[in-house]
Symmetry: C2
Subunit: 544 residues, 2 copies
Amino acid sequence: MITPSAQAPPVLTIAGSDCSGGAGVQADLKTFCAYGCYGAGAFTALTAQNTTGVEDVHPVPPSFIEKQVEMVLSDIDVKAIKTGMLFDAENTRAVVHSLNSHYTSKRKPPIICDPVCVSTSGHTLLHPDALEVLAHDLFPLTTLITPNKSEAELLLSQNGFPTFIKTVEDMISAASRMILVFASGAVLIKGGHINTSVEEIRSLEEKNPQIRVIRQGLLGDNMEILLISMERIDAAVNPGLVVDVLQERGGETTLFVRPRVESASTHGTGCTLSAAIACSLAHGNSLIGAVESATAYTHLAIETAKPIGKGHGPLNHLHSTSKTLIPSPTTRNPYPFTRYLINNTASSWKAYVEHDFVRLLGKGTLPRSAFNHFIIQDYHYLKYYSRAYGLLAAKSSTYAEIGSATQKVLDILHEINTHETFCQTFGITQEELESTPESTATTAYGGYMIDTGLRGYGEVGLWLKKEASKEGSWVLLENNPYKKWMDDYSGPRYQQAVKLGLDVIEGRALNDPPTPARLDEWRSVWERCTLLEKGFWDAAMEHA
Amino acid sequence: MITPSAQAPPVLTIAGSDCSGGAGVQADLKTFCAYGCYGAGAFTALTAQNTTGVEDVHPVPPSFIEKQVEMVLSDIDVKAIKTGMLFDAENTRAVVHSLNSHYTSKRKPPIICDPVCVSTSGHTLLHPDALEVLAHDLFPLTTLITPNKSEAELLLSQNGFPTFIKTVEDMISAASRMILVFASGAVLIKGGHINTSVEEIRSLEEKNPQIRVIRQGLLGDNMEILLISMERIDAAVNPGLVVDVLQERGGETTLFVRPRVESASTHGTGCTLSAAIACSLAHGNSLIGAVESATAYTHLAIETAKPIGKGHGPLNHLHSTSKTLIPSPTTRNPYPFTRYLINNTASSWKAYVEHDFVRLLGKGTLPRSAFNHFIIQDYHYLKYYSRAYGLLAAKSSTYAEIGSATQKVLDILHEINTHETFCQTFGITQEELESTPESTATTAYGGYMIDTGLRGYGEVGLWLKKEASKEGSWVLLENNPYKKWMDDYSGPRYQQAVKLGLDVIEGRALNDPPTPARLDEWRSVWERCTLLEKGFWDAAMEHA
């Protein structure tokens, strides 16, 4: 759901605070993070509570509620809004007023209203006199309201339809009734307190073929294999079920069915669900898609929660969130992955780039014998190198990747051509080039390269160029017998090839972010390549 | 930083609310999420503000502040605490009182105090009379205080040391002075408003060798290669710098140096930094490690932020957060990855598991010729299969992986042995087994298996077993010539091998979570394997 380069859609919650972090605005903001949304949060009331219960409530003055909502909506292009605990009639009116004054035909983000009345622990979070304001003033603004069993009963009874919900059929009738009685766009009755079974849902489906059933986290056909390590197979095949019933104004009824989780970690379930629906809508999903995503998210948040506190603990809001180790590229840091590799292999990298071979070459005093050994071995090595990119082309799955690997092969062939010309000027014949045996360093490095595909001459060329540009530099530019070599590797053609290589490596790290273990593997591959390149020069110096 | 299976360490923020989401408790909670911490948040004040400024402040009554902190600390095992905006003397006293009453020698989580005095937009967030309470009552409880330039100046001046901070040297003296004047464990003076340069830091380092300098996000030696696509290379090599100065009570001075980012997205920088330090400490890091992590996190949050709102926009708190597509295994869903694969290739999987070949085999009416063709080809196929696991062993990097791959090879060899015995009872000789040529289906599938390593007979065996257990089942159990085959694949030995295979696949998905592209690739590999297994049976049926 998170695409790091995209703008996070802003979502606003207008609700109460749960200082212990499991419910209210705190739970909403965590859910917004999990969904990759930008979270804003205005308060209607504060509570002093924890997992064992609500100790006290501090309502926020209505005028201050309006100011908060006004500040958010006048500045930030909010893509969805959810409301939670509203506390009393006055505060509910303040919320309605502030929403109304910012709603125009042009700007009308969806509003999800979670009609919070009573806390899990039994504390009243909405004064009875607020029910009418909720029903008559807030509901008409909403895309969806999300009552649980008791809230649906209370709202319907309050409006002249005494209702008791005991079965899934009761939930379906109550949801249809609510659509008639209230002016919300849709109703989702949450069935956390109603037990049902696979059979009951199947028979309901047969009797009412117009009802759509979305099964979530249930074992489907031909999944016996997944039960292999379970102790209570019956419970897994035929679990107690939970159903949420979505009734849309157009008439569509959808059931969201999933296994019941026996857990004490349910504090803030309703807050989390409505926040997740708001996020999914803000990302542009349909209402059914949003409810499907949000119920699955909330289910997993309960199932994966670890106990916190002494009572009903919070959900695990971060169950599907992980940390990327390489930051996204920015203007200032366009190659974060390569930078990580260099930073974390700094001494090997420096030993290679600033090798005596390079220094003597820069001074122009490198013995010809050492250079000749090097250039002949490099000629052999380039064969491995081009073959490595051929292999990469063969292994690539997109035309773009095949194209850039092929371009690298062409670049290497060009480099080989330069080598041949260059060797001629040094009196090395084509026959000598072909016949001189590969040294151990060349063979080892070539074989390793087939697996990896990195090369650091670009850095060597640029380092020499930088050193040469300093006042009184030790680098000899004129009459240096190796000038052409230096110019080639710091020149635009080779540097363009380096850039292409960097783009490939960085793209891979960005599109398939490494885990800590894989990052460390990559780092050690990079370091071994660097040391093998260094070994190349060590071998040449032995011929000095 | 996030390890999904570990408990998220709880962290508490005691601060103000910024309804627009960029600063205060909202920014803290987002930072807690990014660091994989469980967030709790108690309020000292609410603000009505947005990116352009603070419109109004609603202070929370001191007694209610105490109740909130009390509810959190009496229930949740908090691993670190940060304080932000405290508003006035009374509220600061309430915070101190509630912290004191929960601090014992046994339970003493680190406290980070961000002495918020004035908002970025210039609004007073701490009454002057609170400065004394802050300094004399709160600071002694803290592990670290994190003033910016103006706050450090104000606090020192207020305590009899008129101070003006203009340079990094001023920051260093002020930090040393603060350690003498105040009783906090350490002081971090934030240098966001002080300009410095690479040269100044270098010369400071030479003059004061006892000062430790931690360079972050700066181009190191031999990184010319990373500048390849930059337009303004000078600015990258020699950027304006920002420095934060950490002074510890033991005497150690550490500078955290990084390039200055010119950005309007700085709203909530101080809140984010102190929240990140608290998180890193809660994860068990040292103070220097925590400041290093937090400054890097905050720097990237500014650098990667996209504009939100009309004024100073918020940071990008989620820059290093990504979404995992496969949920973590739970008791109810121990094989979430395999489940995903089966769910998303349902029709191919069903066509394979419930193939006519399997149905006729279950009924006992499968023509012997079809079965013989199948069993001989399966004999060939198992060779590929065992070799595939040999390859996996060769490619594994841990002894555990090598061990489980090798165990698979042994399981397959056992299966081959069963085949040989089985074939004998069907009148197929060992010579016939070895000499019958491989069919195309076998070769294709075998080759494919080398790359992948999946097999579904376990499901087929279990499906037949399940069907057989139904009343009036079509499956013939007694006198079925293929009974032994069915028993083998639904029996404990083969199922144990399947479990091993599932564990390997699931472990891989858990330790190296796939990106959307890779997940889809895995899905299509799974589906192709399933269809090739089906092709195996199609081929056998042609011999019926």
